[in-house]
Amino acid sequence: MFDLLTWPVVGAVLRWRHLRTATRTVLLLVAAVLIAHGLFGPAFAPTNLATLGTWIHYRGLLIGVLLVAGNAFCHACPMILVRDLTRRVHAPRRHWPGRLTGKWLALPLFAAVLFAYEAYDLWAQPAATAWLIVGYFAGAIVVDTVFKGAAFCKYICPVGQFNFIASTLSPLEIRARDTGVCASCRTVDCLKGRRAPDAPQVILQRGCELHLFVPTKTGNLECTFCLDCVQACPHDNVALAARVPGEELADDRRRSVIGRLSRRPDVAALALLFTFGALLNAFAMTTPVQAVERWFVTGLQATTDGQVLAALFVLGLVVLPLAVCSAAAYVTHLVGGARATFTPVRTIAVSYAYALVPIGAGIWLAHYAFHFLTGFGTIVPVAQSAALDAFGSPIFGEPNWGWLGMRPGLVLPIQVGAVILGGIGSTSLIQRISERDYRGHAAEAGAPWVVIAVALTAAALWILMQPMDMRGTGFLS
């Protein structure tokens, strides 16, 4: 088994007990700088670290690291560091309400962040961006000082939900080295953690706060890569192993905490929000979106920007995904053979919805990679400018706007490659799911879903070819 934890140097670093504290401290300092510059620095977004760092560098690195390694940004989340400190003062006593488990609460919050980004032009608003970061910290502290475990990560955090879905395509996952060792384990420290024998209230080592049990854990869903289980396991039986990215999306075995994916419409809805949100987020930056907005203004007689945007979001994130997935599932129900005939349309839709995650990830990557790769160098003059503002002298030198990134023309092949790779990944998963559920009728059963994957790929490629329209002064301006 390929296990990164056994590698020299890298393995030692990953096993280092204070790695999380170190990475979280670094990101906490970065967050503090972004908040300070967002609130007290220039209000002009391209010269402010809050907007540049959050919307260009953080998002670009986030999706890139998720796809080449794993959920590293949840691992290094600075909110958990602050939350842990707060919990020393006020320990949580309540369990998260049972009726709020699942992703139904996280879904509208995730959509709300996407909506707010467009409605308030957050990319152009350093102060609003800073307050958004503050809001995340406040949310994590409030929720996690009231409720035990990782309630904020699991049920609320919009970034966390994005990371959970995208990490299904990561090449690394936490898993048991030898399930035989787990079978003979009597302490399940990976789940429960370790407490002081003479003082049970003292936690010596935390177990999985998301209640994932390593031997029955499949894939990366709900895993924050915190490596608590690695530290907790007394048998050194937890691996950070390589795997085929995306394969878990076609795996319908019962998995720890989550159960079977085909029985989780909330997780399927999150997958659809992830995919169609990618398309809408990219489309909103192009010139043709203005024609759609005008059509909404005329057709719906909308009078405010918010109404137009809300209509666009309801159409793009609710009506369109539900309509196309319902139609495709119904066709599968009709042509997928005897088993499909006896499978409810909703279950078919839920099973196949996960197959659209790769094309969604391809679109997110294409979008964020464009901004990151064309603009990564601008962090240098912006940091120089921030230092000049803060200290009154150019301690990092005068702002040098010659620091750029790649030319857009050079990034386009990467973007096209990401989208096409996503489309291939989705088509491959559709085939896997069809073979799994409708053997003998796989081609017919999967055909309508392939049509959706191809249509999404074509739509994303069309969006990439559109002239971009970087508006920073209102959605209808």
């Binding site: 002009f44 919307w55 901004h371 002239p467 970087m470 508006r471």
Partner: protein
């Protein structure tokens, strides 16, 4: 001291544009020693800025040649550093239209 900026064309499309800066409120000698830099930024952070080539036409008049590479909202920032240490900034907001 005042910096007046004038963009030509007034409503630019993607491509070249010239920002003319007229400095006033100081002696011709001081104005002639000013260091002038002009950078066009899209309002979206991280986009490739347009760094202008600045030519001094007269002691108090500077022409900054810009290449506005993308349609959308731009802000052209002119920074003037005087030999006596004063630092002035002028911002010109403009909406760049796509090429017809």
């Amino acid at each position: 001291m005042v910096v007046a900026a004038h963009l030509v064309p007034l409503q630019p499309t993607v491509g070249p544009a010239t920002l003319t800066l007229t400095l006033s409120g100081a002696t011709a000698d001081l104005l002639g020693q000013a260091q002038v830099g002009v950078v066009g930024h899209m309002t979206h952070p991280g986009m490739t800025p347009a760094v202008a080539t600045v030519i001094r036409r007269e002691p108090d008049i500077y022409d900054a040649a810009l290449d506005l590479s993308m349609p959308g909202d731009w802000v052209i920032v002119a920074t003037v550093r005087m030999p006596d240490g004063r630092r002035l900034e002028s911002k010109t907001a403009v909406r760049v239209q796509p090429r017809p």
